[in-house]
């Protein structure tokens, strides 16, 4: 039964891998700068590493928002979020797994009359708003730096091509690590309070916690999504919204990776606190929205021509529409799961 419950999380992981890996390696693969098999391997390995080693921070924030303590509840929240994402994607509405899962947790809080931590909620919402803005800022600065470097160094076109290929793989690996660290909470976060896995100790050196095992499973689901479906997304959907050159893709991927990283890194948070600076909340953010922010940043660095400002309206619409839809669907599904199937959704 536990494995059945986990299926909804695995489905969410698969869909994240299928869709969001394109935000990291989409342009590199579609412009044939990086072969798909290399992109898929690098993305899979580093998503799993990010999920297992760096996924704790964002998961804790989701736990503060609502600690779903019964497997039936976790299953329903993940299922409702997954269905919301699938339905909104089909309806071509702006959607993000990060925003769907928050709506799902709020729906569980509402159904079970559990309190919602509004402090955590405001942190999450501010991170959603700031993540595309910060991505735009990073992309603006990075594209200026790269333009200056290219002007000053006079590298041969072929050498630039080769350096770009290597950088796309290295920065892609960092992006995949950050995606795993930031977004694993969307996939497996709701299962953590009701985690079925026990900690494994191998001597004094190696400690593999139950949460890490859960994240490994989520990471493997994301990898399955990357290998089975992301190629199609990388080649087609990834290029529909915007046409990027390999060099601008490099800027976008680095900006997105940095955004995902700063909203997921506990070490960075500790560093900021120790330096007396305001810490950034550890919140799952949307890599797709960060990509749009980064593309706008590049547009602004070139004088702001050709920017489609309506896209920003679509992002804002996603902030409201996705959690509301996921919240309502979770509420309805929890009603059926509890009353029709008689499955425990809260302890």
């Amino acid at each position: 039964m536990i494995w059945f419950f986990l299926l909804s999380g695995i489905f969410l992981g698969w869909s994240l891998g299928a869709n969001d890996a394109a935000n990291i390696f989409g342009t590199a693969v579609s412009t044939r700068m990086v072969k798909f098999r290399i992109a898929a391997l690098v993305a899979s390995v580093f998503v799993i590493l990010g999920a297992v080693l760096g996924g704790a921070g964002t998961t804790e924030t989701l736990g503060e928002l609502g600690a779903i303590n019964a497997m039936g509840g976790s299953f329903t929240v993940a299922l409702a979020s997954g269905l919301t994402v699938a339905w909104m994607t089909r309806a071509k509405l702006p959607v993000s797994t990060s925003q769907a899962i928050i709506g799902g947790i709020l729906g569980w809080n509402w159904f079970t009359a559990s309190p919602t931590d509004f402090g955590a909620l405001s942190e999450i919402i501010s991170a959603w708003i700031f993540s595309p803005i910060i991505a735009a800022l990073f992309a603006f600065i990075l594209s200026k730096i790269i333009a200056l470097m290219i002007k000053g160094i006079h590298l041969h076109l072929l050498r630039v091509d080769q350096v770009t290929r290597i950088a796309l793989i290295l920065i892609g690996a960092f992006g995949a690590y950050s995606l795993g660290a930031n977004n694993i909470a969307n996939v497996m976060g709701v299962f953590v309070p009701a985690n079925p896995f026990a900690d494994v100790h191998l001597g004094n050196m190696f400690n593999f916690t139950g949460t890490q095992q859960l994240f490994l499973l989520g990471g493997l689901a994301i990898s399955a999504g990357i290998y089975t479906y992301s190629r199609k997304v990388m080649v087609t959907v990834g290029n529909d919204l915007y046409k990027l050159t390999p060099l601008t893709a490099l800027v976008v991927v680095l900006a997105v990776a940095l955004v995902l990283f700063i909203f997921a890194s506990e070490n960075l948070q500790h560093l900021l606190i120790s330096e007396g600076l305001p810490p950034l909340p550890l919140v799952p953010v949307s890599s797709s929205q960060a990509v749009i922010g980064a593309v706008i940043g590049i547009g602004l660095s070139r004088g702001g021509k050709g920017i489609r400002y309506r896209v920003m309206g679509r992002i804002a619409m996603g902030w409201i529409l996705t959690p509301v839809a996921a919240c309502l669907l979770t509420f309805i599904l929890l009603f059926f799961v509890k009353n029709v199937f008689e499955i425990q959704v809260v302890k």
Partner: protein
Amino acid sequence: MKILFRKTRELETQIDDYLDIVERGALIFLQGLRLFFENRLDEFEVRYKDLRAMESKGDSLRRDIENKLYTHTLIPESRGDVLGLLESSDRVLNRMAKTLLNFSIENPHISEELKPLFIDLAQSSTSAVENMVKAVRTYFRDLLSVRDLINKALFFEKESDKIAEKVKRIVFQKDAELSWKNHMRVFAHHIELIADEAEDVCDRLAIAVAKRHE
């Protein structure tokens, strides 16, 4: 790191070698014509053969470069432009070889009065080619400087148009056989066409540069 860039460096050298061939071809062409006008026909024939040898060496080098660019899927965004530039540069080299061939076969009788004009025309056309080659070479390393070199190449192309027109006007104002007049016109036109081919390369180059600035 060296291994990572080995393939790239090899191809960079090949592209440079190919452009050297086109540039040297222009110098040989000019030297060949000078020898022709000085009536040193044996030496002219040696230059013509040198140019033919360079043309065929250039062909095989160009094919090898194209093959490598495709098989290793290098510079995917600019590959079409680079191939177009190399192929149109090849047409310049072919045109120069063809022109010397026509001189070799038809052995036109060029009057003393026209010889300096023909030399000027050949000099302008080869200057257009030399600047075109420099512009193509610069396209690979320094986009901002390409424009200046394109402008120089286009200046010499216009010059060669003017000189060719002058040759044709002088020829057709003369009281001479129509067949000779036509012969002179055709040879002026042959040399003028070299600069026109160089202009085509520059036009392609200007578009390729604009695409990389996007």
